[in-house]
């Protein structure tokens, strides 16, 4: 039974539509009622198939010894051996670095860290629920573990492994990028001419292909043929090769990574600074505050929530760093500029799929715990204040 098509407005009178609906309409109505599922199903399916399932499958890899055979892969369950290899076994130096001998300074600082963390844990015992306590215990355990590695390797004068190299890139890199990015945003938020020009210009490095950035930086950082050669000559450093020493190589990585990522912080912080209500600043100006005073007391507190969110987003991306060390130094010298992702790739190339998956999982755990902790204890409290 077809619904009569209204010919003019007189046909669309109250009480004029037929009671029944045709089967075509029934199908359309069923679709509309289940629209919720249809809208969200593609996204959920994609994420399940291409993200969730591979992650679980990857755990199977990590728990097995995997071999290529004639007809595909062969898995042999080996429990946590791949993981243990990273911490205690053959990969320990590569992953954790040298952790002995531990110096006195290392011991002292480790003791300080443990005491602080335990005290913080104790203080939250009274005010937190079970779930929160569990979360805090995980954060505390990670903090103590990382503290131990730091004290045993770096602070004792030993070399560090890919775990701490990654953390160095994240922590030191984010700090540098945040400082410079916010500084640039502050400069650009002054009454200057051409603010949009600078905004466009400063944004470009963020979008340039990281691979391209890697090669460009490698060319520029070349001490014999690159543009710095005359400068180094002037400073008497002709024979210095930055890629020969672990720490200088790492610093150069951070500098090159910063070239690409400072724009991100710059754009977000500039937008945040521009969005501080003009009224507040003017009221402070009328009340007689100096520019510095206004920035410290009026502008900055309103910008802090955005700042910590931006920092979190940057940190999440920073853990995945791979292109730059791969191209500029191939992970060298030795393995001192390898990030964990790169470490995993190299192990995969060496056909040890199990260890590769194990390292990838360790990176995942590290990222999740560090970022979730930062989010819970810093970002949420700032956003709540606002």
């Amino acid at each position: 039974m077809q619904k009569p098509v209204p010919q003019n407005t007189k046909d669309i009178q109250p009480g004029n539509s037929p009671a029944g609906i045709s089967s075509g309409d029934k199908w359309r109505e069923w679709c509309d009622r289940h629209a919720g599922s249809f809208f969200i199903a593609p996204a959920v399916t994609l994420i399940l198939i291409f993200a969730i399932f591979p992650t679980i499958y990857s755990m199977v890899f990590a728990l097995s010894r995997v071999r290529f055979t004639g007809d595909g892969l062969k898995f042999r369950y080996v429990g946590f051996r791949n993981f243990a290899k990273q911490f205690f076994g053959s990969s320990e130096m590569h992953f954790l670095g040298r952790t002995e001998p531990v110096s006195i300074l290392g011991m002292i600082i480790f003791a300080v860290i443990v005491v602080t963390v335990l005290w913080w844990l104790y203080r939250s015992w009274k005010t937190a629920t079970w779930v929160r306590m569990l979360g805090r215990s995980i954060s505390a355990a990670m903090a103590i573990f990382l503290g131990w590695i730091l004290c045993a390797s770096l602070l004792s004068g030993n070399s560090i492994g890919t775990l701490y190299t990654t953390l160095f890139y994240v922590l030191f890199g984010c700090a540098v990028q945040f400082a410079i990015g916010t500084g640039l945003a502050f400069l650009c938020s002054q009454p200057i001419r051409g603010r949009n020009f600078f905004r466009v210009l400063f944004f470009i490095p963020l979008m340039v292909t990281p691979l391209g950035v890697g090669f460009a930086m490698r060319m520029i950082a070349d001490v014999t043929k690159g543009p710095f050669e005359p400068i180094l000559g002037l400073l008497g450093l002709q024979d210095w090769v930055w890629s020969a020493s672990p720490w200088s190589a790492r610093f150069v990585m951070v500098i090159c990574d910063s070239w690409q990522w400072i724009p991100f912080i710059f754009i977000c912080m500039l937008a945040a600074l521009e969005n501080v209500p003009r009224d507040h600043v003017e009221a402070a100006q009328v009340d007689g505050a100096s520019s510095f005073h206004i920035f410290r007391d009026v502008t900055w507190p309103q910008v802090v929530p955005v700042a910590v969110t931006v920092l979190l987003i940057r940190a999440i991306e920073a853990f995945k760093i791979m292109d730059l060390p791969n191209i500029m130094t191939g992970g060298g010298p030795g393995s001192s500029t390898e990030s964990m992702t790169l470490h995993s790739v190299y192990v995969w190339r060496a056909n040890d799929l199990g260890s590769s998956a194990a390292i990838a999982y360790l990176l995942l755990i590290l990222t999740v715990v560090v970022c979730a902790s930062f989010f819970n204890y810093v970002v949420l409290s700032q956003i709540r204040k606002a």
Partner: protein
Amino acid sequence: MKDVIVKFDPQNRSLMERLFEPPAIGKMAPFTKVVVYSFLAIWSFFVLFPIYWVIITSFKDAAAVNQGPNFIPFIDFQPTLDAWRINFTADPYCDIASIARQIYLLAHNSVIFVLSPFVSLQPMEPQICKIYLAFTNSVVISIISTIFCVAVGSMAAYALARIQYKPKFGNIMIFVLLILAVTLMTTYSGIPWWMSSAVALALFFFLARSIGRHFKMSLGNGDILFWMISQRILPPIVVVVPLYVMFQAVGLLDTHLALILLYAVANLPIVVWLMHDFFANLPIELEESAQLDGATRFGIFWEIVMPLTRPGLAATTLLILVLNWNEYLFAVFLATVKVQTMPIMVAAKNTGEKGVLWWEMCAVTVVMIIPVIIMSILLTRFISKGVLLGAVKG
């Protein structure tokens, strides 16, 4: 407090005051001006120099590159078009006729791609102009993947903004357990993956209907949103190896489809995050009035809501386009022969027998980054209108 006023005399300002005090509201003191502009100039130089270096290196020859740094064209060295010739016209398959044939093949293959479940793909010619191949692969994959990603992500974001979901926690647990079971089954016993997946899916629906009824605790939209957005934390390295195995089992290794799907999933969290913010900020009265007039959900989405978010949609699309264009890790793991994208081609230049041929690599790099720079300039104009800020604040 009166002292403050008496001391200040606008007519006779001391030198210190003239230098350090702003002359009026909305202007900077001369000293501040100098400091600010010089820092900005320094940073501008810092930003532009690597790009400048790459561009001029693409115009150098071997001697100009290897004999120390040469900074200025025509003064330090003579620019040549060698690198460009080698990449473009010196390649035997880069003449007009070949390119015409390849464009035809591309159109032909696109049609077949759409019909792929029913028709088998005709392979592209193996000997074709390399840079052309890489460029078109990049263009095709980026554009299709972006459209797909933005479409799926917008729909999900809209649904999460307007429709209330209450998935039961128990059902989710069952689902996860079943995934685990399927993985273990496929790995350790000989059951083919499609069989175990089908059984698991059937089992899930059955269990959800029967036991699922009794589960009380359910999650909300906020949790689903958080789950989707937090996928971004997942380091791609965790999933590439299993994906390699998966794609190989399905025969999708080294195909366009594989990369398109992967890129879409990798950037889905960003689209959902940004678009959800836009949709949530639209006044709901518009949609309610359309509902009263009898429009379907999809009708409202397509006719009313999407046009209203055009600037945000455009900004998001540009951003995802750039991210897809730059993607390297997935491409290098899963597709190296037939589906080379620009980044892979650039990386391939890295292994020269006589050492890296920097000038050639720079030429290819310039081709790779010029589109991105243009897109980023467009994107900045959106950002300066404050379009994407709301998302960051949330």
